[in-house]
Amino acid sequence: MRKVLQLIRRFWNLILFITLEIISLTLIAKRNSLQGVDIINSSNAIVGYLYEKQNNVVYYFRLKQMNDSLLQENTRIRNELAQWTGVDTFSDSLVRIPPRTNDSGQVIKTGSSDSSRKPLGKPSVVQYATYHYIPARVINNSIANDRMNYITLNRGTKAGIRPNMVVVSNNGIVGRVAHVSENFSTVVSLLSEGRSYSAELADGTTGFMLWEKGSPDYIQLTKIPLEQKVKTGDSVFTATYSIFPANIVVGTVAGIDTVKANNTKTLKVRLTTNFRKLQYVYVVYNEYATEQQGLEAKNEKSE
C-alpha cells in the first residue's frame, strides 16, 4: 500500500497532466454536436457581460457603417413592398383579420360570449406570416476558426430565442442558434464545417451549401447537375424547403468547378453576408417549426 502511495506521489504531476488532458478532450468531443450540453460557451453570464460591455464601446465607432447598411436594407424592403402591393394574390384566401387589443379604433368590446364568436374586423386578403423576426446585436463574432465559428448575440430566452432557430442578416443568411441563456445566445455561423443547408439557383435547381475552411467570404454550392447552365454572377437563394425562409439571397456565383466523379458542378459562391462586419442580425422564429418537426419525427419513427 505504501509503495502504491509512493508511486502516486512520484508520478503525481504526470497523473494530473493526463487527467486534465482527458477532461479537455472530453469537452472538445462534447462540443461537436449541435445539441451537445457543454458548459463552456460564450452565452454564459460572465463572458456575455464582458462581450456586451466591449461591444458598447466598439459599437459607437461603427454607427456610420451601420446607418448605411440599414438604409440599404430599407431600400430593398421598400422595393419588395412595392412589388407586393397591387398584386392580385389569388392563391391566398379571404379571411377576416381579428382586431388586436392594441389597435386603436378597432377594438370592439363584446359583452356576451355569443357575439364574440362572430368574425370581427374587416375582410381582407392576407398571407399568414409564418416567420417572425427577432432583432439582435452581434456582440462577438469569430471568423478565424477552421471548423466551427460562433457568433454571440445579446438576446436570449427572454427575447424568445430558442436553440435551432435560424439567423439571417440584413442581406443574407448567418447561421443557426446553438446555445441560449437568459440574456445571451450563441450561433453556429455559416462558416462551420458539417453544417449543410440547401440552396437554389434562380430557376429552382437545388444544391447543398458547404463551407470550406480558409475564407470567410466564400461558400461552396455542391451537387448542381452538369447540364445546368450557370454563369458567374448568378444569384443563389435559400431553397423553398430549407430551414431558412425561402428566397433569401445567399450570394453570387464566383467560380464553377466540374466534379468528374459524380457528374455534378460545384459552385464557389461569394456570400452577400459580410461576416467581417456583422453588426445586427435577425433570429427567425418559425411558428410551425415545432409542428413540422414533430410530424417529421413521426415519419422517421415509422420508417
Binding site: S24, Q54, N141, A144, F275
Partner: protein, 181 residues
C-alpha cells in the same frame, strides 16, 4: 506588490486583452490578406511563460487548465485551449532547464523575463512553447490529415504574430516588472 497578486492581475489582463481585443482583430482591423487564411495572434499563453520559476508543476498545470478554459469560454472552442495550455505548462520546466545555464533551483523565485534571461534565450523559450501550444491547438482545430500545408501555414502565421505581440508586451512591461522584483 506581492507575487501572487501580480500574477493574478496578469492573468486577468491577458485574458481580457486576448478575449476582447485580439480576438476581434481578424475582422475589424485585418484586411483580407490575399489567399491567406484568417488568423488571430494568441498572447494569453504568456501567463504560463511568465510564472515564477519556483512554481510547483501541479499548480502550473491547474493554472494552465483554468486559463485555457476561460479562453475556451470566450472563443467557444470546447476544450482546445485548455488541452494546449496544459501541455504547454507540462513542457515548460524541461524547456527552461535546457535553456538556462545554471540549475533551476539556483535561481530562486524569479520571473523568467527578458531582463533575467536576455533577449535571445527568452525569445527562444517563448517561441518553443508557443509553437507547442499553437501546433497542438491547430491540430485539434483543423483535425484533417489532408490539409497539412494549411495547418503549417496557419501555425507559422499565428506564431510569428504571437511572438510580435509577446515582444511588444515585453517592451511595455519589462521595466515595471524588473523594478518591483
Amino acid at each position: 506588490m506581492s507575487i501572487y497578486l501580480r500574477n493574478f492581475l496578469r492573468f486577468l489582463m491577458l485574458v481580457l486583452i486576448q478575449g476582447l481585443l485580439l480576438n476581434s482583430l481578424s475582422q475589424r482591423w485585418w484586411p483580407s490578406p490575399g489567399t491567406l487564411p484568417p488568423f488571430i495572434p494568441f498572447i494569453y499563453p504568456l501567463f504560463i511563460l511568465l510564472l515564477p520559476l519556483a512554481t510547483p508543476v501541479w499548480f502550473m498545470l491547474m493554472a494552465g487548465f483554468v486559463l485555457g478554459l476561460s479562453m475556451d469560454a470566450f472563443m467557444d472552442t470546447g476544450g482546445m485551449h485548455a488541452a494546449a495550455c496544459v501541455l504547454m505548462a507540462f513542457a515548460r520546466m524541461s524547456v527552461l532547464a535546457a535553456l538556462l545555464p545554471r540549475k533551476l533551483r539556483d535561481y530562486g523565485n524569479v520571473t523568467p523575463s527578458v531582463k533575467m534571461m536576455g533577449w535571445t534565450p527568452f525569445l527562444t523559450y517563448a517561441a518553443i512553447l508557443l509553437l507547442v501550444h499553437h501546433l497542438v491547438y491547430f491540430i485539434m482545430e483543423i483535425w484533417n490529415i489532408h490539409s497539412i500545408v494549411y495547418l503549417i501555414t496557419k501555425t507559422l502565421l499565428t506564431l510569428v504574430t504571437s511572438i510580435i505581440f509577446v515582444v511588444i508586451y515585453a517592451l511595455l512591461f519589462s521595466h515595471s516588472i524588473s523594478k518591483s522584483d
